[in-house]
Symmetry: D2
Amino acid sequence: MSSFMGRILKAATFGESHGPGLGVVVEGAPAGLALDESRVQIELDKRRPGRSPHASARREPDKVEILSGVSAGRTLGSPIAMLVRNQDARSGDYAELARSFRPGHADYAYWRKYGLPPQPGGGRSSGRETLARVAAGAVARALMEPLEVGFAAYTVAVGQVAARRVDRAFALGDPLRAADPDLAAAMAEEIQTARLEGDSVGGLVELAVDNPPAGLGDPVFGKLDALLGGAMFSIGGVKGVEIGAGFAVAGRRGSQNNDQMGEQGFLSNHAGGILGGVSTGEPIVLRLAVKPTPSISREQATQDLEGRAVTISIKGRHDPCLCPRVAPVAEAMAALVIADAWLVQRALERSRP
Amino acid sequence: MSSFMGRILKAATFGESHGPGLGVVVEGAPAGLALDESRVQIELDKRRPGRSPHASARREPDKVEILSGVSAGRTLGSPIAMLVRNQDARSGDYAELARSFRPGHADYAYWRKYGLPPQPGGGRSSGRETLARVAAGAVARALMEPLEVGFAAYTVAVGQVAARRVDRAFALGDPLRAADPDLAAAMAEEIQTARLEGDSVGGLVELAVDNPPAGLGDPVFGKLDALLGGAMFSIGGVKGVEIGAGFAVAGRRGSQNNDQMGEQGFLSNHAGGILGGVSTGEPIVLRLAVKPTPSISREQATQDLEGRAVTISIKGRHDPCLCPRVAPVAEAMAALVIADAWLVQRALERSRP
Amino acid sequence: MSSFMGRILKAATFGESHGPGLGVVVEGAPAGLALDESRVQIELDKRRPGRSPHASARREPDKVEILSGVSAGRTLGSPIAMLVRNQDARSGDYAELARSFRPGHADYAYWRKYGLPPQPGGGRSSGRETLARVAAGAVARALMEPLEVGFAAYTVAVGQVAARRVDRAFALGDPLRAADPDLAAAMAEEIQTARLEGDSVGGLVELAVDNPPAGLGDPVFGKLDALLGGAMFSIGGVKGVEIGAGFAVAGRRGSQNNDQMGEQGFLSNHAGGILGGVSTGEPIVLRLAVKPTPSISREQATQDLEGRAVTISIKGRHDPCLCPRVAPVAEAMAALVIADAWLVQRALERSRP
Amino acid sequence: MSSFMGRILKAATFGESHGPGLGVVVEGAPAGLALDESRVQIELDKRRPGRSPHASARREPDKVEILSGVSAGRTLGSPIAMLVRNQDARSGDYAELARSFRPGHADYAYWRKYGLPPQPGGGRSSGRETLARVAAGAVARALMEPLEVGFAAYTVAVGQVAARRVDRAFALGDPLRAADPDLAAAMAEEIQTARLEGDSVGGLVELAVDNPPAGLGDPVFGKLDALLGGAMFSIGGVKGVEIGAGFAVAGRRGSQNNDQMGEQGFLSNHAGGILGGVSTGEPIVLRLAVKPTPSISREQATQDLEGRAVTISIKGRHDPCLCPRVAPVAEAMAALVIADAWLVQRALERSRP
């Protein structure tokens, strides 16, 4: 399923790393929404590689073309198709890899699934697919804009360096999306060290949805945490997701963890804005564990397609830390989930007798 | 959405805590599968309350009746409807709660969503809904049985007590599903202490899928980790999910985290059996962070339906630790996800030219 | 797919002719809707067999029990499960059929699909499955009631007797649902003649949706005619569906067929209330071609399970004309389609900037 | 819903008549299928306008570009995106229409739905959207090719001229897709006469699926006739669909209509290849009633956007008979439905114990 399948909002993504292009068809957005290419481009520019020394050196303008569904800066209610052409695709870097499985990559699993050898640049498994998500997310953001719902993701840990505070304005301008201005340099250093050692490093991304409508999410399988959690796990490299207090709840007592209420509302937000699978109106907060980039130049043991033990050293242009790339994608996925849940809730809310 | 929506396998659950009953309609199971009420009952008995001093004192036989889709011990290919009647529903315990929101419960969020006051026993938000999942999971298990795919979940931490080893056979017989025989008593003690203090305690559940087929899961939104992760987050009380090395990846280097391969296959399984969203054939391992039971007898601050600050002390029969209740549900959800992914993969595999 | 899969409204049906019971789980109805068993029973009574000499002699009370989703006469927003127990199931009548395929029945096709011999009473292919649809339709009707949308179906032809006018009030009280009071007796006669000859007879059912909201239906695959047409073809025995002028359009000129407009709106309704797949607000009118009941006592040639040529004479209790049974089912299906399309339209309408 | 939503095979279409282009993203096709642009182009050329004097004079090369999912002439298992750019879009023809509703068109209904005035060339409601269906259908055909399943549609009536026999080879080469070589000229004459009178004419299209696998379709809502019927009604201008004997069944006795069997199989095919909603393996036959093209140059009464009565005479390039345009689209829709049903059946067939 390369389609995000909300109940009303849907997004069918497509494209391979070294094919003609990538894109998405978004369905279910209402007519009359303000949208044009520049609005989508703003979001795409946030995830573009080549913006910093920490990111992949692949140079792609990633200019989006809207093929349908928009006219004169307004949505028509019909599907919004968006296309980004690939330009800087150097298959040469990958040519030597074609006969063996890159550790930590989809290669082996895809080979078992599709019966196909590793594709240039990872084919469909490349991180480039996420630009289609970000383009779709731009539509979802436009939909939620009148409600002033905010989506913000930032890097709260890189390797051994963990943020002590969150400054979102700083993060948005930082090439790493580092949340903590005091530690942004240390995070960059952590990455640079790994890179020089032919290695990569993991990290943590935090996502906040501000000012979410209350009442979103549907028991029992369409719980908002289930929808958001599943969406976050669909992002390549994410190996863990927690909501609100997250894993810390395991060691807590109920009396510590329950969010009590006063006259002004909730006195805490350990729940991360979701109770019983339904949004309370409090900020929704998630954290994502992002694995170290699997492509490293260090020599690794692996198999070739014939099952022989071989070693591999992966050249090419790779981000040594995925966090700054994951952050805008997490925002886009959250926007899609929230926008769809809101459309569904509007339908049911308005049809109550 | 009270329906599990696989692409072929679907399960529409229903029922409230204090209504006539709970159940599920399972669609998409092939004809000819060995199944009868006793097979489903075995699974239901694993999640039944009232089995131990640690669990809720509500006494329910939870006897399942198969209403359709099965004849003479074999599935017909038509929908399999299963019903469990409620018997021991004492609304009295909850009567006093009806006008204020229980902290940590769905009450407030449901009120915002549905415009309804808290329902007896939590209504649809009650943990009793999970019995429908377990019944559905029994069908999925029956489907995967010929392939010898195993689903096992067990408690690996309760409050401050964390298992040091996993003995699955022990866990299955333990009332807490404690994984570590040496620490089962300490875990029970942790719970008992919390209970005596009018409190509850959180924990960790680990889920293992053994011998999974390779090639399951669909990039990019139907990644197996996304499907499993979303399914786990749909279980009440789960606030975090990690796969394989999980949150530990944040602090790792790529050279540590990548699973290298030798001639015999993978040399490690940090990925938890899933690469690029597709199963590799290695065991799939997830861990779930389970929050402390929100219902506690300690006095808590909250609001009533009119928004006035009040205090509440929750009586009634409640599990002080949800882990042993979550474990069989996690197994059931995993079975549903894996069975559906396998059906889809078979379809595509068999139609390859 | 035994589930009606609207985008918001869903209905998972289940049950076999001679199993324990039949029923449905309806999802996506808003909270607060007036609904109880008596409301559903009214609809079920309309399709109940044994009401007239023209109908099957099987005697079933078809009493519905609501298992969930409703409390104190109001929907809770959770799934509404409804169950009807089978009582008068005489498998004996069918015992002799078990080894050969009844002409015009699902037997042979099911055998190719499921690898199973004919089930008692047709199993899942029995017309009894439609009571689950009618129960679900009762929920959809309740949802559309405040908008005063009407759903009416009636018999406009039986064999060679075609109605010349439509009197809906008469039809609702007529055991055949005959539309034309002047010809109701002739229609009954047509059926009685067929029955005496060990035969059965086909007919036409017309369905009208009055006062439908404008704007329902979604180009290009979710066109309202596509949704309604597909829903009508899902009713057993329906071999043709037409909308508005229907098959007559083939012989027409555009100047005859186009619905022109004056100041007061449309001057005609050849389109049957749908243009470009979207409702205009004019009455929606469909006609269904219903095949003669396949179960006849006349001797017919067929095959047995081993592929040998045999003859068969079908005993048992069968309606010699399906029209009066199809009519309430057509109403229910139309209600489900319209209600779901309306929920979707409300979501999009309300979220326009 | 601009997406064809099979359970495994999905196709998200997009594009407006006068926008940058039209296309489709097809998901769920297995890896390894032989496919390239030339294969898709063959199908697109069949529906291209400008091929005959009977068709619209709009000149579009309709060259398809495959953007993803295919490499070296084989599918990758990832989404197959296909794009056709619009070239010959003369909005001028439509400029005068923008303020009033064209009779028989989607204009009024869209205005009620989206709140938007008529778009140039009909926008999303234009028949040009069908080229996306035909492109998707090419993938479905490629999938069914190894099974030698055939899809053929042809014109069996135009206005008052009805074919007496069917010569498919002739039809495929005829600009009208006329089935009857003896009457092709008379059909063309019928159209020419209408055109000269500033009018248009309706007709009938027959669709045959040859050599279909048995066992396709799912009771009770996924019946193959329901899926096919719904798909046919989704084609613009189709106002009636019948299967097998179709509307003729209304006047028949069961003894006439049932398909009896001999040792060699069915002795007739009144059912049109589907019993109980499941394919029997016999040819599947449907007929579609196609309305006369709504765009005519004759003066018609209508409303403008302010609700004032006005008259309209529609210039521009329009097919005076839609049948030859509907035929290839009907083939494509049938191929999509059959291919998806077959994938689902493969999944379930193979998983029987």
